[in-house]
Symmetry: C2
Subunit: 300 residues, 2 copies
């Protein structure tokens, strides 16, 4: 099993199914409620385990029942939480997520402001056999430490560039950056994510891609910008799709796939996730499901 | 202590402090999170206990940790939960509440669809010494049983008419109905709540009032509509203010106050609640606070 170390945020999500995402400060009734693990790094680690990788998760939690639930669920899925630190008196991160039948979602994330930034409890070198590191933007101090270790070990260091961070040099630390369309727009002031990516690629030394939902993925390839279209699917729930994409991308790169193949693999894993309700956990596909889906698409 | 029996919904609320109530399906960060009991009947019962009454709560919960938290918090506040039934395998009600600094709020309530409607576990007669019954619109079957018992015992039966119910004759069962402005608009098609109340009063045999936030309370009095203005206060958090109003109103009527005095008392209790953040629990005022505030206002 290919070992991938994920660093960033893991949460407990309260996912409310609603008839429509609210537009006003009023009272709404939920049709259903699913309480399930979430967070960018936690969901990616879970997806990696589902895809047959060996996922490790470095994250910061409280010693509360919410933290117990987060760790119990990840460990049950096979995620190694040895690098997850529980802090006494801290409240673990949680989110309220409202999802409507069209898959639109409203997410409110809570993280305790007292969460220590210090990353010295993380090892300076990667655990033996680690083939890739995946970092989000929730804990740059911790991510910097493990991305540096990845660089030293000459294994892929992938950043999920979900949003802009204050620390401008952070993205340079990764061998691979997967931006959201919103991040590329914010960084370049260009409306079209492909144009924005070309601008960013101009001064970047690392591989870059940008995911833009149903418009697919653009990525840098030998001095140009290449594109993989999104699958035409009837999305039921896009919650966690980006996290599944990033987990699958890091796993594929860790396995030694080319960037093009890794994007194709991650694109498929994320699409399959969108076909099931319940966020990035219930929806995360297995390796066999991804490979069967790719075969069917290729033979169609 | 005056005994008041509350019947309806009790929840566990996840109250997220946000910079502004969301208007779109995006990702927001919460500044703070308070996990606290809520629900119309639960909050009213809690307010009654804070105001020096003896509150009993008839409600339906699951046998889950959420239900444990709801009961533990109410009992710690002095609410008698002997008529609260826990159902095996059921999930207890909970809500996600987003509150912004202006006090605007977005509430998403979840209640398990499998919650049994049957009210036969409730007594057919009021517990000895009960001086008033307060019912909400969340569980009409249970409320009907206890409002009938209130009528038989010739004690006030108060309905919190927070929204319209399918069962048109339900409101007739109460000696006192406190409507929301939205309910009066829905029932009468009249924009002005005072006009709407006059229309409803025309065919009603019970005492009626309508609460309209900062515009105050209108109520029926000897064939006309009377008005009590709202206090001019800088509201910090209006969450649960209506529930505190209804709890205080039922308590005051149970104590034998006139309707006018009861409205004044309830208006004061609700106003004081709005001065503190944390929903209807942290904000619920004590009897001494309400009386001191009324004295200061009268002497000003």
């Amino acid at each position: 099993m290919t070992k991938v170390l994920c660093v960033g945020i893991a949460t407990l999500d309260y996912v409310y199914a609603v008839e429509g995402v609210p537009r006003r400060g009023e009272k709404y009734r939920a049709l259903d409620l699913v309480v399930i693990g979430g967070g960018t790094a936690g969901t990616a680690a879970h997806a990696i385990a589902r895809l047959g990788g060996r996922a490790m998760l470095a994250t910061r939690l409280g010693d509360d029942p919410t933290g117990d639930a987060i760790v119990a669920e990840l460990e049950a899925a096979g995620v190694d939480c040895a690098l997850t630190r529980r802090f006494s008196g801290l409240r673990s991160p949680s989110s309220a997520v409202l999802v409507d039948p069209q898959g639109e979602r409203l997410v409110t994330c809570y993280a305790d402001v007292r969460t220590p930034d210090d990353a010295s409890f993380l090892p300076a070198r990667l655990p033996q056999g680690t083939r890739a590191v995946l970092a989000d933007v929730a804990w740059v101090t911790g991510a910097r430490r493990l991305l540096s270790a990845a660089r030293e070990a000459a294994v892929p260091g992938v950043i999920d560039g979900d949003r802009v961070v204050d620390d401008k040099s952070y993205f340079d630390l990764a061998s691979h950056v997967a931006y959201s369309a919103a991040t590329v727009r914010a960084l370049t002031d260009l409306e079209d994510p492909a144009d924005g990516l070309a601008k960013l690629a101009h001064s970047a030394r690392n591989w870059l891609c940008v995911t833009d939902g149903e418009h697919g993925i653009w990525f840098t390839a030998k001095g140009t910008i290449d594109h993989v279209p999104a699958y035409r699917i009837a999305a039921v729930d896009t919650l966690g799709a980006g996290d599944v994409f990033h987990g699958a991308l890091a796993l594929a790169l860790g396995e030694g796939m080319t960037e093009r193949d890794a994007v194709g693999f991650a694109n498929t894993a994320a699409a399959l996730k969108c076909l099931r309700f319940g966020g990035g956990r219930i929806g995360a596909p297995s390796r066999a499901e991804v490979e069967a889906f790719m075969r069917r698409q290729n033979s169609a």
